[in-house]
């Protein structure tokens, strides 16, 4: 079912992309319109194949073999793994990179991998070193304010209004 939903999602995306190009000038719209139209054609074709295969699997008498039905079997991305990853990403957006990444690394090592506190803290310290010393110090990264701070503080906004300020580490 998920495969079907994803396929329909792609049809909607390509369809929307084609429609969007109609408001643009000819020379600007040519390339995206051609690409989006071809994409729409292909994902629609894939959707038809998907539906046809499902029908054949559902009605074996119509000529489907079990092998054919299994050919496109999903790989199974672990739900817990995915949940941890996306929770981590959310945590980092919320708390910012310098705080969010080490915190998540500690939680991951301690509660997912069942490591002891010394290793968990060591990994977090390594992450802090990479963030502040290597990426911040050597490569001059500027860290955006965490979403949490932006939401609950009255900091002045920058020209594009997307974030309050950036802290150089």
């Amino acid at each position: 079912m998920g495969a079907l939903v994803f396929n329909i999602f792609l049809v909607v995306v390509f369809g929307g992309a084609v429609i969007e190009t109609f408001g643009w000038r000819q020379e600007v719209s040519m390339f995206p319109r051609v690409v989006a139209s071809l994409g729409l054609l292909m994902v629609t074709g894939q959707l038809v194949i998907e539906l046809w295969n499902r029908r054949r699997v559902a009605h074996p008498a119509a000529g489907a073999s079990s092998a054919e039905g299994e050919a496109d079997a999903p790989v199974r991305i672990g739900r817990q793994g995915a949940a941890w990853l996306f929770a981590g990403l959310f945590c980092i957006v919320l708390l910012g990179v310098p705080v969010g990444v080490p915190l998540f690394v500690v939680l991951l090592a301690r509660y997912r991998f069942d490591e002891g506190w010394p290793l968990a803290i060591g990994l977090a310290a390594t992450a802090v070193f990479l963030i502040l010393a290597i990426f911040g110090g050597v490569f001059g990264a500027m860290w955006a304010d965490p979403l949490l701070l932006t939401l609950f503080s009255a900091s002045p906004t920058t020209e594009n209004g997307s974030q309050a300020s950036k802290v150089r580490c």
Binding site: G2, F6, L10, F14, A17, E20, W24, R25, E27, V28, M30, F31, P32, V35, A36, L38, G39, G45, Q46, D72, P74, V75, R76, I77, G78, Q80, G81, A82, W84, L85, F86, G88, L89, F90, V93, V97, V101, F104, V105, L108, A109, R112, F113, E115, L119, L123, T126, A127, L130, I131, F135, F139, A141, M142, W143, A144, D145, N160, S162, K166
Partner: protein, 486 residues
Amino acid sequence: MLSWPTIGVLLVGTLIGCITGILPGIGGPVTLVLLLPVVFAIGDPTIAFALMLGTHAVQNTANSASAILLGVPGDNAAQALLMDGTPMARKGEAGRALGAAFSASAVGGLFGAVIFAGSIPVVMALLKVFGSPEMLMLSLWGLSMVAVLSGEVPLKGLAMAAVGLLLTTVGLDPQRAIPRYTFGEPYFYDGLTLISISLGLFAAPVAVELIQKRTLFTADAPATKVSDVGAGIRDTFHHWPLLLRNSALGTFLGIIPGIGGSVIDWLSYGSTVQLAKDKENFGKGDVRGVIGPDAATNSKEGGALIPTIAFGIPGSTGMAIMLGAFLGLGLIPGRVILTEHKELLFSFVWILAISNVVAAILLLSIAKHLAKVTLVRASILASFVFTFTILGAYMAQQDAMDLVLLAGFSLLGCIMHQYNWPRPPLLLGFVLGGVLERYLFLSFNAYGPSWMLRPGVIILAILIALSMFSLRKRGVQKPTKEDGAG
């Protein structure tokens, strides 16, 4: 040509390549993707490619270790080593197998570097007769590699290439600076970044898998002892005709876009067995079954650089990422890079040569301890993959939106992985989309629709059709882990 800090960065790259090459599932495209932000931050092309190419060039050498010692290939390009390398380790000749593999890889890598250097003048002469329409066709040839990277789902691969092409159009139009698909959000005016897309598509699913399994791919492999590395080195040079023959074979196959590492690996193993007088020991632990494939898989890198640099035709995911790095650093493949950056090209030769020699020396000297490296704790690896993924994505524009974009592409990567939609075509489409649109615009502006009737265009169109037909007919389209398909 190569001076400090380039040499230092090259050594760091070689070390990274050795470590990540040994770890199954981490080497190849994932490492290159994780290095992209560092490469862009460095800015200087010579230093940046010392890191990137130094890492990439030695991974084939290093991934022999896990195949021989544990029976778990670092990537699909080391699969043929399971035939003779693993049996050698099982009967107590792990050191000899490692010695043969590393030394054969070093010679193969050097061979590829020499051929790459020799090909530059020939390719430059060829490019002088090419205009925008021909370059457009060459870009299309590059895009036709989707046929190879799509595996057994060509329609899905083509659709994903279209997604990649469409993603390149996000942002201000390069000709008129009119916003396209930006939804009024200024963040998108500069377009999407290769880093966010590639990290989301490739690194995030690896992180998810590590977090889910809580163990490495090598966790169930039996322990093995390593000794007598010198015998393996002597074996390599004793079988020098095999060494040179397979190095030449690997370089030649590497030049042909679309022949992945796994195909070269098996073809070279097949030819090794076929041309051997006594065949009875193959499959039971014959050292020639280690030397042949290892020389070929490493020599292919020099060959594979030729179409990537000269024509913008990447034949694998690794080369597509490399091409993305070229474009990100403002180096346009083709005439520009061949005429205006000759020094850089010759530095590639040195990078290939030095990294292969250093990797061989390094790996040979630590051969006895390699088995331990492959058993690094999953928690450590997962933490590093996660941290580098986040930092890599954030360095794109240093905006909180980078992380939101990463989350979006991570979700897309996981869904694509889950439902067998090939990821490399999307990356290839994204890498080549900007080049295609630019040459299309230039061709129409300069020649009108008649550009399609130019002899060079027609010849290249026929060649593209023939290559796509032959690639699919030969069945090289099977997705490989190295290519990152699926």
